[in-house]
């Protein structure tokens, strides 16, 4: 059975027809634009006909834009709801991040991330890059960051009760970015979807062989794109973030592989236990935020 966009959300009606209509309308809109510009070129722009068609065009276009935005936001909400409904999952992510050199040159860095999650309060992440690797352990009580090389360094702090609050505390107090934080923040109080100014549907794409709906969003500081798996498991498969504030417009690209039925892991799995060669070290605090 072929499944379509938005089918996970039981409340909303099937959007297949709407989607087709939308894409068709976009084509019509483009045709209209071409026709209008032809009129202008042949010097017929002074006649009343194109003006009337322009008026109709802009009102229907506005309607289209707003309905397309709500369609995209619905799909995003749908995905967020699904993410928050999972009681356990594991992810493998390939991350490509642009670093900008002082001369403005962009250098793409590769990171690999493996995460095991038992919401709402257990998380283990292994992140590796050319610059080294880090491990993150959160068992609902404590959070530990561990760096195996060059010598096993780690630091621990007492953590709040949920992953969402942990992400906030790690950032605010210690300037630590928990990798893949979006996957834990969508559908929570820290979801910033309200900042989305524009949203469009690009079309259907395949990521790692899986079919997904590709959406593009615009916010004040960033443009971003997401590809959400089609069918009854609306998982994000690809995320692209473009930083507009930077002159070089660096990008962050993440490709996700999901396992929504991993083996059950106990609290011990999420607890960091140092071995004799590991050393506890200090962690700089963000004093100015205190």
């Amino acid at each position: 059975m072929v499944r379509y966009l938005g089918q996970y959300d039981k409340k909303s009606p099937p959007k297949t027809l709407y989607l087709i209509k939308l894409l068709t309308m976009r084509k019509i809109r483009m045709k209209k634009k071409i026709i209008t510009s032809l009129f202008l070129l042949t010097g017929l722009s002074l006649s009343s006909m194109p003006q009337a068609s322009d008026k109709n065009n802009s009102s229907s276009e506005n309607e289209l834009v707003s309905s397309e935005k709500s369609l995209a936001l619905d799909a995003l909400n749908n995905m967020s709801g699904y993410l928050r409904s999972l009681d356990k999952f594991s992810i493998h992510a390939d991350i490509y991040v642009d670093e900008v050199l002082e001369n403005g040159q962009k250098i793409q860095q590769t990171r690999k991330i493996a995460a095991s999650v038992t919401p709402p309060s257990m998380l283990m992440i292994q992140a590796s890059s050319t610059n080294g690797s880090n491990e993150y352990y959160y068992n609902g009580d404590n959070f530990t960051i561990f760096t195996p090389q060059p010598a096993g360094f780690y630091a621990t702090f007492k953590a709040p009760k949920t992953i969402g609050k942990l992400i906030r505390k790690a950032k605010d107090d210690f300037d630590i970015d928990i990798p893949l934080s979006d996957l834990f923040l969508w559908g929570t109080n820290n979801d910033n979807s309200s900042e989305i100014q524009e949203a469009i549907l690009i079309g259907v794409e395949r990521v790692n062989g899986v079919s997904c709906n590709h959406f593009a969003f615009r916010q004040k500081d960033i443009d971003w794109q997401i590809c959400i798996q089609r069918g009854d498991m609306p998982l994000p498969l690809k995320l692209v973030i473009t930083t507009k504030q930077e002159e070089a417009q660096p990008q962050y690209l993440a490709l996700f592989k999901w396992d929504t039925a991993p083996t059950q892991k106990d609290k011990q799995y999420y607890t960091f236990i140092p071995d004799e060669n590991d050393h506890k070290i200090d962690i700089q605090t963000n004093k100015k935020n205190k």
């Binding site: 670093e99 900008v100 300037d175 970015d177 923040l185 960033i222 973030i241 504030q245 962690i283």
Partner: protein
């Protein structure tokens, strides 16, 4: 006549040599080009807080990884200028300038990478990295381990 002509010429050549030197100095700045600018790339759509991000402030500070290296530079610049004026006159000026750049290891300096050949030592329960005569204390600055010179 010869002397009055030579004075401004020498002054000119001296000024020229200073310009050449100044043109050579930015080599240091060029070398820095390879350094990372503070990571401005957003890696998440949702900000966990409304506070301004100040990611990599610390790693910026630590981008000087040449702490243990002494740079001593000597540069000699020879400028010969031939001036044709009523036959051939030769006005030659030799300018020798040595620039000495010495960076010392300052306690409190933060670096993001250690030199090779360091050993872990533990004193009063605190872990240090001993690299030659310099002792570093590791610490987390955000997601990264940085090293502060303590001795």
């Amino acid at each position: 006549m010869t002397l009055t002509l030579n004075k401004p010429l020498q002054f000119f050549v001296f000024t020229l040599s200073i310009f050449i030197l100044l043109a050579l100095i930015p080599q240091q700045a060029d070398a820095r080009r390879g350094n990372k600018k503070g990571g401005g790339t957003r890696t998440s759509v949702n900000r966990s807080s409304n506070k301004n991000r100040n990611v990599n402030v610390n790693s910026n500070k630590s981008s000087n990884t040449n702490v243990n290296i002494n740079n001593n530079r000597n540069r000699n610049v020879n400028v010969d200028i031939d001036v044709d004026r009523r036959g051939r006159r030769r006005g030659g000026v030799w300018t020798g300038v040595a620039i000495g750049v010495t960076s010392a290891i300052v306690i409190g300096t933060i670096v993001s990478t250690l030199p090779t050949g360091c050993t872990t030592i533990i004193q009063n329960g605190i872990s240090y990295q001993q690299c030659g005569t310099v002792r570093y204390q590791p610490q987390y600055s955000g997601n990264n381990v940085t090293y502060i010179v303590v001795k």
